[in-house]
């Protein structure tokens, strides 16, 4: 019997838990050459900013052990071009779209939310909090619960009630649970974690940093354990909050780890650079794993690793005692 893969991001139902990670699917059209985007649980856009952004100089990428560093600098078309060209393309096709936004001030996030509030085709709004706050000496919003909460509260008050607001959290903070709690208290309907931790590589030939921007975000399988840890801690503290687990997912088993830690959806990012079909493969592998372990519903596996040692997995009892309707 096939596993029921449906999941909920707050009240929004997704056909399956696999989404692209923000910034890893460009405008969506690039991946559409390879597969039907309707087969994704949802597509997350790159982080949209008010003005068009040219991004960082090259080299922007360096391969590292089981990962890569990137310093793209949110290159993108800006909100006007996004609303004119990219979002309608996705909306006309009925592709579930999580729009990611990035800004330098609370006012900029709010303005982006205002522009997106009436746009058709926004399934959820993800707030990229790993942007430097220009009103606070460039410290990123995600570092501090109060700064993150201010952004979330403002965006939440502007977006329509039926569009969930998702806070994207950074892993390199002193206490991710505190930031998560601040975002939820400010009105976040769901949380997404993790954004890239910062890293750096040095080119031993050129004797200089490998990236033009010196530091960059580390992604790929190297960061999966950090993502699992963050999801675990936040789910333990806030068990009722839907979490999108993101970070280094390459296989169905990686996605399964995040789900067992407490994620109800899983973002796939760097894996797409390696394999354009990664989302479909991971979804299939995850379904096979769930089926092999006797699960009838994905929802039964969410956070299951938190149960005390020795306790029975409830889902197996339920399906043997109660016949299906």
């Amino acid at each position: 019997m096939p596993v029921d893969m449906r999941t909920f991001l707050a009240h929004v139902e997704l056909a399956n838990p696999i989404t692209t990670a923000a910034g890893c699917a460009a405008s969506g059209r690039e991946l559409a050459q390879f597969f039907d985007l309707h087969r994704l649980g949802a597509l997350a856009t790159r982080s949209i900013t008010m003005a068009p952004r040219a991004g960082r100089p090259t080299p922007r990428m360096a391969e590292t052990p089981s990962g890569m560093l990137n310093a793209v600098g949110l290159q993108g078309p800006g909100i006007d071009a996004f609303l004119e060209r990219e979002l309608p393309w996705l909306a006309q096709r009925g592709i579930r779209t999580i729009v990611s936004i990035g800004g330098g001030t609370v006012a900029e996030y709010s303005e982006l939310a205002r522009r997106l509030a009436d746009a058709p085709g926004v399934t959820a709004l993800e707030v990229n909090l790993s942007c430097p706050n220009i009103e606070d000496r460039g410290r990123v919003f995600a570092r501090e619960g109060s700064a993150a909460a201010e952004v979330i509260a403002s965006v939440r008050s502007i977006m329509r009630y039926d569009v969930p607001v998702v806070a994207k959290l950074a892993p390199d903070v002193a206490d991710i649970v505190a930031v998560a709690r601040a975002c939820v208290d400010a009105g976040a309907d769901a949380l997404s974690m993790i954004n890239n931790p910062l890293g750096m590589a040095i080119d031993t030939e050129a004797l200089r940093p490998s990236l033009a921007a010196v530091t960059g975000g580390l992604s790929g399988p190297a960061i999966l354990p950090i993502a699992v840890r963050c999801v675990w801690q936040v789910h333990a503290a806030l068990p009722g909050v839907p979490l999108i687990g993101v970070g280094g997912v390459m296989t169905g088993a990686d996605a399964f780890q995040l789900i067992l830690a407490g994620a109800c959806a899983v973002g796939v990012g760097t894996a797409l650079f390696h394999d354009p079909y990664a989302c479909l493969r991971i979804e299939r592998e995850l379904e096979d794993l769930l089926q092999a372990r006797g699960f009838q519903r994905l929802a039964d596996a969410v956070g299951l690793a938190h149960r005390p040692p020795g306790s029975a997995p409830r889902h197996l009892l339920v399906d043997s005692e109660e016949s299906s309707p």
Partner: protein
């Protein structure tokens, strides 16, 4: 499309490596200028970015084969160089935008530096099919780094070779010889592939002669399919505005005069969305 290809043959070509891979779907769709990306290191690899490779030859044998040319630059290409017949490779392609070809039978000079020359051979085939005259100008640091000299001599009307150490052909760079080759062959167009610095100089010569130049850039890429945004270069669009465009998706072939070679590796201040345009703070 993604294909699991079987390696048919491997060979050394002077300082370079060539792999012939059975990849039917890719061979069928290939146009000169396209490239393919290959996963390296096997199933349990720690190398997660794909390597973009030049296609040197496409044949209909075994349902379609592609010959890929590369040089060993790091652990990924070293792994590729160790592949043997019957090994399998994970290929995605054909990728990028191919070379535009002239409608009329014009005279074309094909300029290649190092293994960038490899991509010019399918271009030469396509041009000759259209009745164009093809002349090659190939160069490298030394004789073993000039790719395809023999094949060029067999195909082209004339072939000029240059090496920086003088071990083969003329001493110097391809761009030193380019003005006289253009003049002698009365060329109407230039096709070029090689390092950025060579393409910059080739473009400068073509502009001097007032003839069109198409260049295929070699920029490092992580994905090859347009999603990672790491292979960008500043290119002037039809509207006159400079944008940071992806070498993999909008390229790798560009009109030479549109590429701002001097500004590669920077964000020109007048590029669309450059810092200072009011959005400098985010991300």
């Amino acid at each position: 499309m993604q294909v699991t290809g079987t390696v048919l043959t491997t060979r050394r070509v002077d300082a370079y490596h060539a792999l012939t891979v059975v990849a039917p779907g890719i061979a069928e769709r290939y146009r000169p200028g396209h490239f393919v990306s290959v996963a390296v290191g096997g199933a349990q690899t720690s190398m997660i970015t794909r390597r973009a490779l030049t296609v040197h030859d496409v044949k209909p044998d075994y349902g379609g084969t592609v010959e890929l040319v590369f040089t060993v630059r790091g652990p990924g290409t070293a792994w590729l160089a160790e592949r043997r017949a019957r090994d399998t490779l994970d290929l995605v392609g054909p990728l990028g935008r191919p070379f535009p070809l002239p409608r009329d039978p014009v005279h074309c000079v094909l300029v290649g530096a190092e293994y960038g020359s490899a991509v010019l051979f399918p271009v030469a085939d396509a041009l000759m099919e259209r009745g164009c005259r093809v002349d090659f100008l190939l160069g490298g640091a030394s004789a073993d780094r000039v790719f395809g000299a023999m094949r060029a001599r067999r195909m082209a009307e004339t072939t000029t070779l240059t090496t920086e150490d003088g071990s083969l052909g003329l001493r110097g760079k391809v761009t030193d010889a380019l003005p006289s080759v253009i003049a002698d062959t009365r060329a109407d167009a230039v096709y070029a592939c090689g390092p950025m610095e060579t393409l910059r100089a080739v473009t400068a010569v073509a502009i001097e002669f007032d003839i069109p130049v198409q260049v295929a850039v070699e920029e490092s890429m992580a994905c090859g399919i347009g999603v990672c945004m790491t292979c960008v270069i500043p290119v002037i669009g039809d509207d006159g505005a400079t944008r940071m465009v992806r070498a993999c998706a909008e390229g790798p072939v560009f009109r030479g005069e549109r590429v701002r070679f001097e500004d590669v590796g920077t964000i020109p201040f007048d590029a669309l969305g450059a810092p200072g345009g009011g959005a400098r703070h985010a991300g």
